[in-house]
């Protein structure tokens, strides 16, 4: 953990930290460029599947970034970031239902099954996209704020906090499974057609969404890194290393934790909002405890406390998962378990920490 923070400030790796957002922005430009230049059928014309994959992975990386901000830097392990991802996703779902209804004038299937004849008034505030995005972020910050306020003020730390967040995820999933809630039960929300006037089924829309996800990831990365190297980041690291010491120096550590926590919740919600139009569905599976634990695994394997490591972990593991689940589906759990064990034993600072060591070793020899 110590090394991971030293790499935050050591000048040797500043370039690579600028490198990641630059890389992401390039990817965001390359995607549409390739598909504009090369005609469909050309090997370099990326299929909708690949474009979608890239976009989804960007969302996962954003999610990992959100978790690393609070786990790696603040020392607060959340096993419930799926809650905020889900909040963002469902809110985007509400908006897309509105847009689809305005487009087709047909009520979504699940509403018809419930015997409803009109579009529910409760979902109408989400009709305008900017309002929906704002409401999604606010809702995530509000839920995060309530959980954080209660936990941090009562000084619930460490594994107890993690268990509470895990339990909350499970509770929210059970709630969403409930058909009477009017959010589609276990089928979730689907049947989306339009986003901001663009057809979701069109390749160009999906390319744009994947590019947007990469740009948002780059922007959030720059923002969070800026915070990490500021005085606020110093205070976060100090909370992680010795919260009592910081409190007795005169800091309201509960407020520092709450602010970082709420920001992380908002980032996770943003990831959910970008994710849903790319996969075309949102269901309670997204707030299953499994996904929330998976995020922590991405961050742990990528390397905690550097933000870059989190993005790396999410990208590498997601690619591996997509590839293996298609090729040899039964192998994935074993491969994942193997990687986790290997990292724990051999690379305690994760993949990124390992790369840094390799670089230092190369520079020295």
């Amino acid at each position: 953990m110590l090394n991971s923070v030293s790499s935050l400030r050591s000048p040797s790796c500043t370039t690579s930290h600028i490198g990641l957002p630059v890389l992401l922005v390039c990817a965001a430009l390359v995607l549409p460029l390739f598909n504009a230049v090369f005609p469909p059928g050309h090997p370099l014309h990326l299929s909708l599947f690949v474009v979608n994959l890239v976009g989804q992975i960007m969302c996962f990386a954003l999610l990992a970034l959100a978790l690393d901000f609070v786990w790696g830097l603040l020392g607060v392990l959340s096993l419930g970031h799926g809650i905020f991802f889900g909040i963002g996703g469902y809110v985007m779902g509400f908006h897309l239902l509105n847009a689809a209804y305005a487009d087709t004038r047909v009520l979504p299937d699940f509403m018809q099954f419930m015997g409803w004849s009109t579009f529910p008034a409760a979902l109408q505030p989400f009709a305008a996209l900017p309002v929906a995005v704002l409401l999604g972020l606010l809702l995530a910050v509000f839920v995060g704020g309530v959980v954080g306020l209660a936990a941090f003020r009562s000084r619930i730390n460490g594994v107890y906090f993690s268990i509470i967040t895990q339990a909350l995820t499970y509770a929210l999933m059970l709630l969403l499974f409930n058909n009477d809630l009017g959010l589609g039960g276990n089928n979730g929300l689907t049947g989306f057609t339009l986003l901001a006037g663009f057809h979701l089924a069109h390749e160009s829309t999906q390319v744009a969404l994947a590019s947007l996800s990469a740009v948002v990831l780059a922007g959030v990365f720059v923002l969070l890194r800026g915070l990490a190297v500021s005085g606020f980041g110093q205070a976060m690291v100090a909370v992680r290393d010795d919260e009592a010491r910081l409190r007795f120096l005169g800091f309201r550590t509960d407020r520092i934790k709450l602010a970082a926590w709420c920001l992380s919740a908002a980032v996770a919600a943003l990831a959910g909002m970008l994710y849903v139009p790319q996969v075309g569905i949102i269901n309670p599976g997204i707030v299953s405890p499994t996904l929330s634990v998976e995020i922590a695994v991405w961050v742990a394997i990528g390397g905690r406390g550097t933000l870059t490591g989190a993005v790396l972990g999410a990208v590498v593991l997601s690619c591996l998962k997509f590839w293996l689940s298609a090729e040899i589906p039964s192998a994935w759990p074993f491969v994942l378990a193997g990687i986790t064990l290997l990292i724990t034993v051999a690379l305690q600072h994760g993949l990124w920490g390992g790369l840094q060591k390799l670089r230092i070793w190369k520079a020295a020899s």
Binding site: S6, S230, G231, Q234, D241, D242, A244, F248, L249, G250
Partner: protein, 248 residues
Amino acid sequence: MSQTTALYINGLNVRFGGFAAITDLTLEIRYGETRALIGPNGAGKTTLMDVITGKTRPNSGEVFLDRTLDLSTRGEAEIARSGIGRKFQKPSVFEALPVAQNLELAVRRGLGWGEMVMSRLSVAQRERIEEVLVTIGLQEERQRKAAELSHGQKQWLEIGMLLVAEPKVLLLDEPVAGMTEAESERTIELIASLRSPARAIVVVEHDMEFVDRVADLVSVLHEGQLLGEGSMQAVRTNPKVIQVYLGR
């Protein structure tokens, strides 16, 4: 209480379940003095520090800073900001941060969000950090991570983190525990240099030679009560003190 009273503890009682950690303790500490708190384990020394700094709430009694500011109802951060700095028994520094950043962090307390994120330190704040680095003898180590410091250097750094905030009352819990002879000597000089008419220093320590050299007055605690108070010489010859503590 007089004009020079820094800390006034009156009729303090602290119980943990059925155990009386502190019973009817009254203590006055004045500006300009260095006071030692001694007593066997379980005498209530650390509990007293916990109460003063807001970590433990007393069952009854009052703790005043500057005769009027009641500390017993305030939170830890607020008490620290009102001018009480506490060094813990176990060296508590932020190991992942370099020495200079440990001190910077201590300067940043009480800042608003905007200042915390955006501002660079002012010239006065930078100068203060330099001054403290010299005082604690860690100028050469400023860029080293706190984790790489020796045990003694960590103790000095922790004292430095308190000093940048110019505390009125400095509470030092076993500052020389685990130190080498040379480090103890250096710490005695450091504590002597921190004396000021605008500051009260309270030291908890088991090392009697150390206490004799740094303290003006010694308060002996035993089972949560004040057993005796006076100069080291007077305390040494106090029969009650000899019986429970020094005579063993």
